[in-house]
């Protein structure tokens, strides 16, 4: 039953990732933490592997639609390790509860961003 919930949330997280260009981790992390009994930190770590798969598939699809600027994407990716290491070290050195609360704030921020975007689009979905 819990596995089913994780599979459904995974599918939905991937679908939203395709729609709004994120990896879906904002849903994978709570799915793993709530239904698979992982700690917040373990769920975050495992979520990243799922994100790589999703981003690969998403990039492949988006390339077909001509929506990827590979050069800018590569520059962002290649320059990311400094931030990645800082974030990872921090995640491993704060309390589980602090990480949970901070993550919940990120989730709320993301929800607000989605709401703002969906209400401010003048002609939603129009292919530009």
């Amino acid at each position: 039953m819990n596995e089913l919930a994780v599979i459904l949330l995974g599918f939905f997280g991937g679908a939203v990732g395709g729609l709004v260009g994120v990896g879906g981790g904002v849903l994978f992390v709570p799915a793993l933490a709530i239904f698979m009994g992982q700690s917040q930190l373990e769920a975050e770590a495992s979520s990243l592997v799922a994100i790589v798969l999703v981003a690969l598939a998403g990039t492949w699809r988006q390339l077909g639609y001509g929506n990827v600027r590979l050069r800018d994407a590569a520059v962002i990716g290649v320059l990311s390790p400094l931030g990645v290491v800082a974030g990872t070290v921090l995640a491993n050195n704060v309390s589980e509860r602090a990480l949970e609360v901070a993550f919940a704030c990120l989730v709320l921020f993301f929800a607000a961003q989605l709401l703002r975007r969906s209400f401010s689009e003048p002609a939603p979905g129009e292919t530009r």
Binding site: L19, G21, I34, A45, R61, I76
Partner: protein, 126 residues
């Protein structure tokens, strides 16, 4: 240098800023960082929403990989559980990108926002 495009310096700086911020989000929260990449590409470079989402996903391949390696070094990555959520998600993203080409996504965004709020409440209450 006079032959250089005047905006390439600031452009690279901005990309480096996006990369560092997204990387920090990724390492700290186990996400890809698209939450910061997409709006900044739209705001700073005038990307359309669709190109911003596509480019963000491509950047996340590398960011997610680096962050997975970093967290792996701490021994916290559980591959079978990652697959349980990741494999269905691949099906989801293929469906999602196809939908994006013909849908507004507004309904999905609203649904997702509602789901996120409940997730946040669950995290805060537990």
């Amino acid at each position: 240098m006079s032959g250089q495009p005047p905006r390439s310096g600031p452009r690279l700086l901005k990309l480096a800023f996006i990369a560092t911020l997204a990387g920090a989000f990724s390492g700290l929260f186990g996400v890809g960082g698209g939450t910061v990449i997409v709006p900044l590409l739209v705001m700073w470079f005038g990307y359309s929403e669709h190109v911003a989402t596509g480019t963000s996903l491509a950047a996340i391949v590398l960011i997610g990989l680096f962050a997975a390696i970093a967290h792996g070094a701490y021994g916290n990555v559980d591959i079978p559980k990652a697959m349980l959520v990741g494999v269905p998600a691949v099906g989801g993203i293929v469906a999602g990108t196809a939908l994006q080409q013909r849908l507004s996504g507004r309904t999905v965004s609203l649904l997702f926002a509602g789901l996120l709020v409940s997730v946040a409440i669950k995290l805060l209450i537990d």
